[in-house]
Symmetry: C2
Subunit: 325 residues, 2 copies
């Protein structure tokens, strides 16, 4: 089978590709080829089968048409501009996150091959006055343009699936930490950098107070969940193919304490505390109290402890040449 990863140059795309290369199979079939696509040519990965790298701008329908062919069995749609970027530039967010998603789905529709499409949505679809805890049946009331555009992507994915044009499934990613690489324009970027930079002996800035609570998942577990989510039978997804991916809720203090428990007291001393109102305004609208029953029932898993998140970073990523953030 042929697997396409759109956003294949990003952290999750690269880790997913390497995991698929190590597995060699997906949905009970041998993987014959992986295509990694991104806005700039993504880095190569090693695999026991051909891996092609491609350049694609999902905001261009022509570019998407050239990328996706009728041989493609599984499409991972991980490409997006991130939260702070989409907040700064509404047009870019609409063109890439919203119309880009429509371009990919509509290309799959035109092929009439009904590929499996795995869409990375986000915890940022939640917000507003919706009561805690957030369940599978809670209203999506995003308080950022990024969250709005992801929620629109979910609606399109569901409708195209309901119509039998694709076999879609969407997962709302918790904040991924510890993310390797460099800081990016996601408002959540600090939730990795306050750990990653100190673990590499560098200073980092924390823009919120230590009692700030949020909902986290490690990149390793995220990739495992995406693969598991690809393999779920369509019938098990019911009438809503999008769901929260399980994570765990921690305060900034708890994640720093986990780092200290695993790596000793030195890294925590490298964190500087400096309020950043723009970031705080975005992240304070995000939710952290979740009951992701559907995903748990389908077998998706959170990390067991934040110490695990730290260990996975040390095992998988420390010192590695950074993937494009």
């Amino acid at each position: 089978m042929k697997v396409l990863i759109i956003g294949g140059g990003g952290v999750i795309g690269q880790k997913l590709a390497r995991k698929l290369a190590a597995r060699g199979t997906l949905r009970g079939r041998d993987i014959g080829k992986i295509v990694l696509a991104d806005i700039v040519d993504p880095p190569q990965i090693n695999a026991p089968f051909p891996v092609e790298t491609r350049n694609c701008d999902i905001s261009s329908r022509a570019s998407v048409d050239q990328l996706i062919d009728a041989d493609t069995d599984v499409v991972y749609l991980l490409a997006a501009i991130v939260s702070a970027h989409a907040e700064e530039d509404l047009d870019a967010g609409l063109n890439i996150n919203m119309l880009g998603t429509l371009n990919v789905l509509d290309r799959c529709r035109a092929l009439q091959t009904k590929p499996v499409v795995v869409f990375s949505s986000s915890i940022a679809v939640y917000g507003g006055e919706v009561p805690d805890p957030i369940t599978d049946h809670s209203f999506l009331n995003p308080q950022t343009s990024y969250g709005t555009q992801k929620a629109i992507g979910e609606l399109l994915l569901n409708d195209f699936s309901r119509r039998g044009l694709i076999d879609g499934r969407g997962f709302r990613l918790p904040t991924i930490s510890v993310r390797p690489g460099k800081p990016n324009r996601a408002a959540s970027s600090f939730m990795s950098s306050i750990l990653r930079e100190p673990l590499n002996g560098q200073e980092a800035v924390c823009p919120v107070a230590e009692d700030f609570e949020h909902y986290y998942l490690s990149p390793r577990r995220c990739v495992e969940n995406l693969i598991l989510g690809t393999e779920i039978e369509a019938e098990a997804l019911g009438q809503n193919r999008c769901m929260m991916m399980p994570g765990r809720r921690w305060t900034i203090r708890q994640v720093i304490d986990a780092m200290t428990a695993v790596a000793g007291p030195k890294p925590a001393t490298l964190i500087r505390w400096q309020d950043a109102p723009d970031i705080r305004r975005i992240v304070s609208g995000w939710r952290y109290d979740f009951a992701p029953q559907k995903a748990l029932k389908l077998g998706l898993k959170a990390d067991d402890s934040f110490e695990d998140n730290i260990r996975y970073y040390l095992e998988d990523d420390l010192g590695e040449k950074a993937a494009r953030p």
Copy 2:
């Protein structure tokens, strides 16, 4: 003030225009002009101020740009292709209902005048496995393309409002009955025609069983609610500017009995019962158990009884030259 009604040729658009003409004021200001716009030139209405009729295709940004100018204070966005039509033709639904809404909102953004935008969403945004009753915090899981496109319009309206680009408010209309005019391509069309045609001495077909339950509102009350919704202060809307418009739940048997109570036994004898699986499949996915607390708190109202819906039709519409459906 200048009021623009996009979809001004439709039943609700025409009734809204006539009601505004009779009131003469909106949001505490005198109405100086109404513009009625639709895909074909809408009929004129009588008013004590100028009423302009305009042709506009909202799926064309250029057409929208020509229509909406910086003098426009309030925009009613009522134009859409209806449920059965959007289900038959996905492209038309995406272009008109989704991208057409974006065109209108983005034109308002470009003007930098922050007009009030009143959007007619639909009960069809609800569906799926979401538990009853549907509350203000229930997940939108539309089971039609029409509902999907309306839910996307809501997300855009909220985001553009949150960003301060417009002052938006959206109302999910119950099924409007008794609708004057001719049957249209809405799957709910029969919910008016089984009353309207018999009240005019004509036969009508009922495609579902008499225990079929649904959620209804009269056109007269709908227009009153739209005007009230236009006048609500933005602050009172909170972080979600879209809400269910209150209606009432009735079985087909109850609405027919109401007709008989008001108009005597003859009309009910003109109903033919004939199963229509395509229609049944769409409408059976719709929801009817609602707790629209937010709208009720803001002063929006349902009809007092279905007898009222029948009386309003007899008073407002019987024998009237049909507006374009």
